[in-house]
Subunit: 252 residues, 2 copies
DNA sequence: ATTGACGCTTGATGCATGTCAATCTGAGTT
DNA sequence: AACTCAGATTGACATGCATCAAGCGTCAAT
């Protein structure tokens, strides 16, 4: 009994200071003592499973959530059954930032595969941030980054065609996964073709055809959810301007 | 000489506490003393004119900007001359939030008509916010609100057709203007058809045809930049779910 | 193994919207 | 007033992608 308790405690509770994501997450740039203080307010639940909700649209906002392992999608139930996917969230990414304003969730968040999630009670976090300037700054940066990424997405949906959209989606997945230490060219997609289409503003059929075409063109090897990127530079080129941060272009 | 100086001082310098936008802007919910402290760090320049830039993509980020009167567009120069309009900013709205993350502006901001703008040096603001909890909270809310609005825009670009997009644009302008005390049904658009199209992900010609059609259908009266909304409810209906916050729909 | 359900793929067709081109309008400018 | 020029409108046409429809692989339950 005592034995099991110790084991499960070790398994579930990974302190921020030992978390492999701390360089991507809230603790970035904090002193060890401040990380301890942050750590103390974070709740860690048992792993969640495919289909579980972190929250649903309309619920009161209490916490932010950080993906530790696995993946989550956020979506807005649109009129009549259909749902618009708003984003996919990989380890190290924060969910719920849009709900601070109204203290109420406008969208829902559902886990796509077995995932470990950290819960950050927002009110306590806000109090803590007020006394740790670098944490406050980090929080501003995270909110700002989200806004910047949304702007990229607006550009994608406003100006790019189907091919460019899927290429951008794949290169984005690639770079986000590699930043977390995973292969940038060999990965599993945890979301369905339908969800990818919804996210990119395309029909399922279009997504499917493009996967086929990319494979025919030697850019990818695809089997179901498994993707091997064979020609990443070509995909980045196709995706448009921001391939990664490898080459800046000077504006004059 | 002394006379002129006094006059221009009165004209340009409108303290936050006397600003008609204070209920929409940063001072919201602050005590009079705290408003004074905020007021002390804000820079107010002479009016800017059509075509002037607040900042350009690539420049170092130093300040946020708040539109006091007039209007501003933000845009990203896309490859080869074309520009993607990212947003239009009306009085009370804050510009530059996306640049906090990288301390560098990713987009440019250009004023569309003669405008008065408040400049908020961000570093000093951040220091101030650390010592005024309600200001810090207000800042989180503003950042969060921006993220929520971007999500609405993603939904618009991802799922809506041309008619719904223009209807959403017009109802958004209407509600934002009316919240600032202007008529919700009679206003001037400071941006060109081309800029509207870029913002909505549509060709200029499509925008123009829709204006014509809306007028034929008795929804609007349009003359050049002057718009009179004749049937606001119909436009809101056409725009999709969020007409305004007048009627909530219960989710079950 | 059989069944059914679901997600994915592939083909055929139509439409909304982009593109190209011509004309029109209004605001300056000389 | 005549000229100029950018923006706006309108029409004709082309096409990318959605839609509809059918078939196929995969997995879970029985």
């Amino acid at each position: 009994m005592t034995q099991r308790k110790v084991i499960s405690f070790d398994t579930i509770r990974v302190a921020c200071k030992n978390c492999s994501l701390s360089q991507l997450c809230l603790p970035m740039g904090l002193s060890p003592e401040d990380v301890e203080r942050l750590d103390a307010i974070i709740k860690r639940s048992r792993p969640l499973h495919r289909g579980d909700h972190l929250f649903r649209g309309g619920e009161r906002f209490r916490s932010l959530y950080v993906v530790k392992t696995g993946s989550v999608k956020t979506y807005a139930p649109s009129e009549e059954g259909g749902e618009q996917v708003l984003g996919f969230h990989l380890p190290g990414e924060i969910i719920g930032l849009d709900a601070i304003d109204k203290s109420c969730h406008a969208c829902s968040a559902k886990v796509l595969e077995t995932s470990a999630i950290c819960e950050v009670p927002f009110q306590r976090f806000e109090e803590l941030a007020a006394s740790i300037p670098s944490l406050q700054h980090q929080m501003y940066r995270l909110l700002s980054k989200e806004i910047g990424q949304d702007a990229d997405m607006l550009l994608l949906l406003g100006k790019k065609n189907a091919e460019e959209r899927l290429a951008a989606f794949l290169t984005s997945m690639s770079s986000r996964l590699s930043r977390r230490g995973l292969s940038p060219t060999d990965f599993y997609l945890s979301m369905s073709r339908h969800e990818i289409g919804s996210y990119l503003g395309l029909a399922v059929e279009t997504v499917s055809r493009l996967f086929t075409r990319f494979q025919e063109d030697g850019l990818l090897r695809v089997d179901r959810k498994h993707v091997e990127v064979l020609d990443l530079p070509a995909l980045e080129m196709m995706a448009g301007s921001p391939p990664s941060n490898t080459h800046q272009q000077r504006s004059n």
